[in-house]
């Protein structure tokens, strides 16, 4: 159990509270909200117990769902990106990931943006698809995914830069 450090647990609760109290109320242009709480999944330490990681992601999504009355859409999206994260890590970081010694603070900025944006886009697409739940409104799903993803990406990069403790 010592594999999840204290840092991750603090991050878990702080991100949920920030999401439901601040970011859910931004409503830029009426309906565009960022969802930077998935930073927890994006920045979770890599060499870890995968089952535990998927379960934690599920709980993260479920908490946000309870607060925002959305059934299980966040939980479903979070579980999915937690499950496919290794594949995306391999795609974005290549050899570094193969050696299992990846530290997000020390990675190239460009690689990190690619990694963030792929996972954010997948998460938002699943979330809005389930939320709207109507295939005839697929254009609306894509539109919301595009706008919110951009917004989330900006916030995620800003937050990860602000709170990174780079040791050089």
């Amino acid at each position: 159990m010592n594999s999840i450090n204290f840092n991750s647990i603090i991050r878990f609760f702080v991100l949920i509270l920030a999401q439901v109290l601040i970011f859910n109320n931004i409503n830029f242009l009426g309906y565009v909200n960022p969802y930077p709480y998935i930073l927890f999944i994006l920045l979770f330490p890599v060499n870890n117990n995968r089952s535990l990681f998927i379960f934690m992601s599920f709980m993260l999504g479920l908490f946000v769902d309870i607060f925002s009355d959305s059934g299980g859409v966040h939980a479903a999206a979070c579980v999915t990106i937690a499950f496919i994260r290794p594949a995306i890590l391999k795609f974005a970081f290549g050899m570094v990931y193969e050696h299992q010694n990846i530290k997000f603070n020390n990675t190239e900025f460009g690689n990190r943006v690619i990694y963030f944006s792929i996972l954010i886009a997948i998460h938002h697409f699943i979330m809005f698809l389930l939320e709207i739940f109507n295939i005839s409104n697929i254009i609306l799903v894509f539109q919301k995914t595009l706008f919110s993803s951009t917004f989330t990406l900006i916030f995620c990069i800003l937050i990860s830069i602000l709170f990174s403790n780079k040791q050089r």
Binding site: L17, G30, Y31, I54, F58, G61, L62, G71, G72, E131
Partner: protein, 276 residues
């Protein structure tokens, strides 16, 4: 047997993923069906408490605006009261002529969480079962309707907003008695909703007022909703679909009134006499 166990161990991540994804999918589908979602909602002790704490801070920011809304409403009510014919003579003896002949009990509450950006929006209020709030009570402000209570806990309740694709409310034109259904398509901005099923013979004019209809036992007849923004004839050519511009600013709500129809039980009994 050994092989099955091996298979489970080898694929335990994938199986866990499938299980959790299935659970969340089930919760999603349950929240989309018309029946109330019982487990995952913001009207519980933990979330209600956190939202109430946060709104305790944020409600200082719009005190001035809320005061003005209250003053406006007081002015209107006072002018109604002074201009009613029998107000001077029988003030003491009438039970309460302004509260819809005593058929409605009015409660007040405060919104502690307001959503309007998704396609299924809910609000959370700071009154619950211990204040006599039940499911299926109507929620209004001084300007117009807000929604219907759909889930309660001891201290909090959740309101199904009119900005929710599941919401269906009986409404009518103020000028004539043609009734229709007030819905929201989930796409238009939070200032407009749609009124459907108004028959094509109805005198629909841009700028006319839409009010609640008398057919539901939740809202009394004549609660204001909004004005007609634009209207089109349906594909079938029989009914109008009307874009209604709301009187309420759904993005900026603070204090609401909760209407309880004291006759609901009687009406329900009459409508389903065999339902034991």
């Amino acid at each position: 047997m050994q092989q099955i166990i091996n298979f489970v161990i080898r694929n335990k991540t994938f199986l866990l993923f499938l299980l959790l994804f299935g659970v969340s999918l089930a919760l999603t589908i349950q929240s989309h069906s018309y029946h109330k979602s019982k487990f995952i909602n913001s009207a519980n002790f933990l979330t209600g408490g956190i939202y109430e704490g946060a709104s305790g801070i944020s409600n200082y920011f719009d005190l001035k605006e809320q005061n003005e809304i209250l003053l406006e409403e007081n002015t209107r009510l006072r002018s109604i009261k002074l201009n009613t014919a029998n107000s001077i003579a029988t003030d003491e003896f009438v039970i309460d002529s302004s509260s819809y002949n005593g058929r409605y009990k009015i409660n007040n509450a405060k919104i502690i969480n307001n959503n309007y950006s998704s396609s299924k929006n809910y609000l959370t209020i700071n009154k619950g079962e211990k204040n006599g709030i039940k499911e299926d009570l109507g929620v209004i402000t001084s300007k117009g309707i807000v929604g219907i209570i759909d889930n309660t806990s001891n201290g909090y309740a959740r309101v199904l907003s009119i900005l929710n694709t599941k919401s269906k409310i009986n409404a009518q034109l103020k000028a004539s008695n043609h009734i229709g259904t007030l819905e929201w398509n989930g796409k238009s901005s939070p200032t407009t909703v749609q009124l459907t099923d108004i028959i094509k013979f109805a005198p629909v004019k841009k700028g006319d007022t839409i009010v609640t209809g008398g057919e539901s036992s939740i809202f009394p007849q004549g609660i204001p909703i909004g004005t007609i923004d634009s209207f089109v004839l349906d594909i079938t050519g029989d009914t109008y679909t009307i874009e209604v511009k709301l009187f309420n600013d759904m993005t900026n709500l603070s204090h609401v009134y909760i209407l309880e129809n004291l006759d609901t039980k009687e009406i329900k009994q009459l409508e389903n006499p065999t339902d034991e």
